[in-house]
Amino acid sequence: MNDNSVIETNETQPIARICGEPLLEIPQDLYIPPDALEVFLDTFQGPLDLLLYLIRKHNLNILDIPMAELTQQYMTYVGMMRVDQLELAAEYLLMTALLIEIKSRMLLPNPKTETEEEHDPRAELVRRLLEYEQMKHAATRINELPQAGRDFSVIQIWVEQQAAAQLPNIDMDDLRNAWMAILTRAKINRHHQIKRETLSVRAYMSQVLRDLRGRDQVEFYDLFAPAATVAEVVVTFLAVLELVKELLLEISQSLDSGIIYVRSIDVAQSA
């Protein structure tokens, strides 16, 4: 069978004849040691890659592919891989079918009604092979470009982080919102009762405890600042009473009209 006869009209016909001859025998490199097959299969990216390899390896004219030889070689490779039961991508088998189809179409008489180029059954395969080869080369070139992390590294020196600047800031609205969320939730969960008290008393309660911190006891009068306003005195007094009520303070007076002492009942501290 002679593939070249079918494509006489092709402009590259003479070259094809020259190329065709030596390829009639199976190339020596076709023998592959069985244990190399797996590596081999990994090496090819698919049927197009394998075909390109065969074409380039044997210096075939890609515009005038001798389909018989190429198909035979391709099938030998694929056959070897199948014998060894290597997992072969379905695409390889599909390509076998395509190659055989092209080969047989080339044996059919050439209908005169259409232009020759359109009717070379190999045209589409050649187009795909060339497009794939183009991308394959492009991939190699991209891989040759210097690559960050592989061929060079990006400079980044240490910067002192300002811990303080990273802290969140809040304002009164944040607090207001937070508190309103709590209240709203508490209203819905009826069992939580939020007592409303004047803030100033709570603030002074903290202040009194602070004053007592680290001290065994203080005289009652010392809790009141000399410059305190009447309101402040009242609030402080209320704070002390509240603290006593909450068992945070203990007030003692050993003698009638004697000195009144205030002690913090802070067992953790006095222990």
Binding site: P168, L212, L247
Partner: protein
Amino acid sequence: MSAPLMSLNQLDTSDTLTPEKTQRILEAVLLTTSEPLPINELRKLFNLELSATVLSKLLEEIREKWRDSGVELVSIASGWRFQTKADIQPYLERLTPPKAPRYSRAVLETLAIIAYRQPVTRGDIEEIRGVSVSGSVLKALTTRGWIEAIGHRNVPGKPALFATTQHFLNDLNLRSLEELPPLEEMKSLIDSNEKNSDLPFEVPEAHD
């Protein structure tokens, strides 16, 4: 692959390791690494062929060379590293304004409870919020200097009593706790909100 070019260069430099080349490598490597590199690590660059003394001398020279720039080579406990000088920091911040982090809803609510109900124990806070308060929340506020333990309540377990600090008032531009939004006002806000049935449940930007 640019292997040929690179191996040429590599050969070139490793064959004749002049002080200039050594310095050039040291400088580039230190600029690439934000972690400090100890001398022993740097010796690996030259397959341990250069002594620590030689490297120290070269590093001192590099440090000197950079003296007037906005970047300095420093030797700290864990090794050598380049870092920006303090006067560059403000410029860096012009590029990337430090994005303001936000406190989680848990932190804000805990703070609000401590502010309005002080002194309170962790248990008090949990009762009001209806959920447990993680230690990290109290720690965040304590570290920030906004709350402190001012004593312990005399009940089993002796829980610490928390109150807000002067620092908290300063940071919020308040002269006293009385300047916080009064609770009464908020009560009526909530009531009116309920009528409008658009509850302020959000406390919107709550991330933990």
